[in-house]
């Protein structure tokens, strides 16, 4: 009897020790965009509910600040870096020739696709003003439609909002002989705001955007056809597919191997993420609720990410 008591106490003590070892606080920045938030929320719930961690979320713009925070050890991991939109990857991430102060923690799973988009009311329907606008070359036939006060006789295309994204919109227009200027709004928020307002007024516009993104949930957009990506002809072509990745502290794999491995194993498909984005941004539902719903319905999927799980 005494022996049994002793054993139980030992087992309890071991259990406590084990959970204390597994637990801890991980700090992660909250992404600026719904997709990134969804990805991080899924990881957070797994870490908190299944692996004994507490995740502290910090709101700050996703950019070099986050990388510096990771390098200094203030942040442990972050979700969804899109390589095309991050001009600092060459400085921090080893896979792009950086100093390795930020480690890649596996791909997110989604595949990003960029293009130029026009609103559907512009190209479809009985009184659509540009029914034959299908490819980027067709833009030249509708220069007058897209002309503005400041564009100096050319059409106006809303290019990549930030020059650091290296979209090369202006060069593409030149090389393909499109008589358009590429306006650069400076910030992503401004880009979406202008699109949203122009859409509400049913004005013509052609703008850069990518998928998966909440803007497609809010506005009905059609992608223009661009020449397929070709490294040698760039930027006279469309974009390469974008493979976003999760990232974090390089020594996370040593200090918290299971958490790091789970993040590396995790994978969300375009469809899965887009469905959640739609529910959050169009139906206006609570993000936690939507993510929990997905987790309840796909338990076998995410359980397989946890290292040492039996599935």
């Amino acid at each position: 009897m005494k022996m049994l008591n002793f054993l139980t106490a030992g087992a309890v003590a071991l259990g406590i020790a084990a959970s204390a070892q597994a637990g801890g606080v991980l700090t992660a920045p909250e992404a600026d965009w719904t997709g990134g938030q969804v990805t991080c929320r899924v990881l957070q719930f797994i870490l908190e509910d299944e692996m004994g961690y507490k995740v502290k979320r910090i709101t700050m713009p996703s950019g070099p600040g986050v990388r510096e925070g990771i390098r200094a050890g203030d942040l442990d991991f972050a979700c969804e870096s899109w390589p095309s939109y991050d001009s600092t990857k060459e400085k921090y991430v080893k896979e792009w020739g950086g100093d390795g102060s930020v480690a890649k923690l596996g791909d997110v799973g989604i595949i990003g696709a960029s293009s130029y988009y026009v609103p559907r009311y512009l190209v479809e329907g009985a009184d659509a003003p540009a029914p034959d606008l299908k490819t980027i070359a067709d833009l030249n036939r509708y220069v007058d439609l897209f002309k503005t006060l400041e564009s100096g006789g050319k059409g106006r295309l809303l290019g990549c909002p930030a020059a650091s994204w290296e979209c090369e919109d202006t060069k593409r227009m030149e090389m393909l002989g499109i008589n358009f200027i590429a306006a650069e709004l400076g910030a992503e928020t401004a880009h979406w705001a202008e699109m949203k307002a122009a859409f509400a007024r049913k004005e013509p516009f052609v703008a850069y955007a990518w998928e998966p993104h909440w803007i497609h949930a809010a506005l009905d957009l059609v992608a223009l056809e661009l020449p397929a990506f070709d490294k040698d002809k760039w930027p006279a072509t469309g974009w390469a597919k974008d493979v976003p990745y999760n990232y974090g502290r390089p020594d996370l794999i040593k200090t918290d191997p299971e958490a790091a491995q789970m993040i590396i194993n995790s994978s969300l498909s375009n469809n899965e993420q887009a469905a959640m984005i739609l529910a959050i941004d169009v139906d206006g539902r609570d993000m936690d609720e939507v993510v929990r719903e997905w987790m309840a319905a796909n338990e076998s999927v995410w359980r397989a990410w946890i290292p040492g799980s039996v599935n």
Partner: protein
């Protein structure tokens, strides 16, 4: 001399000297000629600017500092972080009425019932918007940063006041601290002080400390010579002189500096989010990212109320004579309603009612304090008589404070032992999001409104921004240098003229000449629009009380509302283009323009109207020929403030497609290129300093010419 007078004579028509206008017109015509002849051929030579690598060396310096300095800065930041966190936790978990009392009672003591009601409403507003927790975080961050700023600022200010050399050394540093865009040092702040509160505290101290330094220095230097001498005749030491004579005398001035520091600190509330400091700025930022205008307006209004409460409170504290508690009860003094209504019976009735309540509360609190005083002092006096008596005197003198402390202790006790007070009641909460979002969506598609915005945009682009841009950017660089040299020489002095040229050369050597000139052009465009709208509005509000009372709260809100809040609606109405950036800048910079115009006109003596009427001039003539010229120093001061604010806005406008140096800073921040950001930031600082000195000198010269 002789020639000048002949020139003046030539320019005089019907008794008025038009020589200044003639000079401006002639030099403008000449500049146009130069522009036409050279037409953009003389851009700053690339071969020269390529030899300079400012940005590169700054980045190398940063790397070195990172290796050698970071341990120490991290130690500092962990101390600040611990302080911040404990305050934040206290504010979060203590019952909310405590905060209401802690802010409301000082407002009552120093500013009377009106300020107290405003303060209580403002504090409750945070809860009503369901932003109590973020508001507490911001409060903690602002509190800690302001206390540090005051502490450091007074020390530096005292040092400046004791030694002219120190003052001369510190002044340009203060100018730089105030005008250097915070975006430039946010990333280094993360590197050296980590993510979150401590970095934000550092950034706020850098930006908000200068006014305390300046006004401490000024206050001490303004202590009359006779006071100093008489103190010296009693044989005071230098330290005694400082602590017993100079600092107390300078206190009103220092308090004014504290007021400005608080306002500037709150101006950084949103930027704090860029380094993960959370708080109300986080709400604004999150809303902005999702284009939720109503949500960001709620966050913005919470910041506005915080700013207005602490602005009014610190102003009231700097002139404590107006305490409502010292009012003689035999005299009918209105506590809530405007004193002008004293002859209106219903108003008197209301005030009598308020008076009863007031007297009752004052008696009750007096009674409570009396009992507390007896309870504390009686045993103390038994032990040590002198200590007990001085405590009693202190408690009597600070009745309100003691009462407030007792009230807070009572609430804490109630919360701990009787019933948990908990979170701000849900029943008091309401939301502005729906109506505001609907209004913005409705306006964005309203054909009349959009017609108006498109017209305004076309006007600004075609007649203001584009011509200025083409003209200034197209001028040869050596010609611009020469013009700046002559203008600054004639209005400020030869020494600063050389400094100006050196500064402008720096931007050229750094490879930023064209961008700097564009920034100059768009700033001038913004100032032109500010004058175009600000002058009439200022005149109107000087003439009409109704206009004034409508405008004043709007201007208050415009000055304290974070620019991020109105960027999105402005963008949705005007579209993304450089004109939108100019419009956003005008919204930010126009309040001082309107205020100073109004102030300048109101300060003129009444007799001017009568005198000019006697000479048979119409009121329009009086306004144009007499009053506006006499108010011109004040208007010029408004221009001066508007210029500095417009340049501060440059780094925000890239969010709405603004171009120029601000965009350069913004991009540098997005690519972790501190050197590039710093060089562009220095460009903004240089423009700000040059334009500030120039407009200040014009104000001074105008005052001198008017014999003021």
């Amino acid at each position: 001399m002789r020639q000048k007078s002949r020139y003046r004579e030539f320019c005089t028509y019907a008794g008025t000297d038009y020589s200044l206008f003639a000079t401006i017109a002639l030099s403008f015509a000449f500049s146009l000629l130069v522009w036409f002849l050279t037409h953009g051929q003389f851009a700053f030579p690339k071969a020269v600017s390529e030899q300079f690598h400012f940005a590169q060396s700054i980045n190398n310096g940063e790397k070195w500092l990172q290796k050698n300095l970071r341990e120490y800065t991290r130690a500092v930041s962990s101390v600040i972080g611990a302080i911040l966190e404990s305050i934040e936790l206290f504010l979060w978990f203590k019952p909310w009425p405590i905060i209401v009392i802690a802010i409301g009672l000082p407002a009552l003591a120093y500013g009377g019932l009106r300020l107290a009601l405003l303060a209580v409403f403002g504090v409750m507003f945070w809860g009503m918007m369901d932003m109590w927790d973020p508001a507490m975080s911001t409060l903690a961050l602002m509190g800690v940063s302001v206390v540090f700023s005051i502490f450091l600022g007074v020390i530096v200010g005292v040092m400046c006041s004791q030694n002219d050399l120190v003052e001369a050394f510190v002044k340009p540093i203060l100018d730089t601290m105030q005008t250097m865009p915070a975006f430039v040092y946010l990333l280094p702040a993360i590197i050296f002080f980590g993510i979150g509160g401590p970095s934000a505290t550092m950034a706020i101290i850098i930006y908000a400390m200068p006014p305390v330094v300046r006004l401490t220095n000024l206050g001490i230097r303004q202590v009359p010579e006779t006071t100093i001498e008489s103190a010296q005749s009693y044989g005071t030491t230098r330290m005694q002189m400082l602590t017993k004579v100079q600092l107390p005398q300078a206190l009103p001035s220092i308090m004014l500096g504290v007021n400005q520091t608080i306002m500037m600190a709150l101006g950084l509330a949103v930027l704090a989010t860029f380094i993960g400091a959370g708080g109300l700025g986080e709400e604004v930022w999150k809303a902005l990212r999702k284009l939720k205008v109503g949500w960001s307006l709620e966050g913005g209004l919470c910041i506005v109320f915080m700013a207005i409460i602490f602005d009014r409170l610190s102003l009231a504290m700097s002139k404590p004579a107006s305490s409502g508690l010292l009012v003689d009860p035999s005299q009918m003094t209105f506590r809530l309603l405007p004193q002008k209504w004293v002859h209106w019976a219903p108003a008197r009735m209301v005030e009598i009612g308020i008076g009863w309540v007031w007297d009752f509360v004052v008696r009750c609190s007096g009674f409570v304090v009396h009992i507390a005083c007896a309870g504390v002092c009686w045993p103390l006096e038994k032990v040590n008589k002198t200590v007990g008596q001085s405590v009693r005197r202190w408690m009597r003198a600070h009745g309100i404070l003691v009462f407030g402390l007792l009230l807070i202790l009572a609430i804490l006790a109630w919360d701990t032992w009787v019933a948990k007070i908990g979170y701000f009641p849900k029943s008091l909460q309401f939301t502005l999001r729906g109506p505001v979002d609907n209004a913005v969506d409705w306006l964005a598609v309203n054909p009349t409104f959009i017609g108006f915005t498109k017209g305004l945009r076309a006007f600004i682009y075609l007649y203001v921004l584009n011509p200025l841009d083409k003209f200034i950017v197209g001028l040869p660089w050596w010609y611009v240098l020469a013009v700046f040299f002559v203008v600054v020489w004639r209005s400020v002095g030869i020494g600063f003229a050389f400094v100006t040229v050196a500064m402008l050369l720096f931007t050229g050597l750094a490879g930023l000449w064209g961008i700097t000139m564009y920034t100059l052009a768009s700033t001038l465009a913004s100032i032109t629009i500010c004058l175009l709208f600000g002058l009439p509005l200022g005149i109107l509000s000087a003439q009409s009380k109704v206009v004034d009372s409508v405008l004043t709260p709007i201007l208050d809100a415009m000055q304290t509302m974070p620019a991020f809040v109105y960027l999105i609606p402005v963008l949705m109405f005007f579209g993304g283009n450089p004109v939108t950036a100019v419009i956003a800048t005008v919204i930010y910079a126009i309040p001082p323009m309107i205020r100073m115009t109004k102030l300048g006109l109101q300060q003129l003596p009444e007799e001017i109207n009568e005198v000019s009427r006697m000479f048979g001039s119409t009121s329009l003539q009086t306004l144009l020929k007499v009053k506006l010229p006499m108010a011109s120093p004040s208007i010029m001061l408004g221009v001066n403030q508007a210029v500095v604010m417009a340049l501060a806005m440059q780094v925000i406008t890239p969010l709405v497609a603004g171009l120029g140096l601000g965009k350069e800073v913004f991009h540098a921040m997005n690519t972790a290129d501190t050197g590039r950001g710093l060089v562009a930031g220095i460009g903004i600082v240089l423009l700000a300093i040059v334009l500030d000195r120039l407009t200040q000198a014009w104000t001074r010269n105008q005052r001198y010419a008017l014999g003021l």
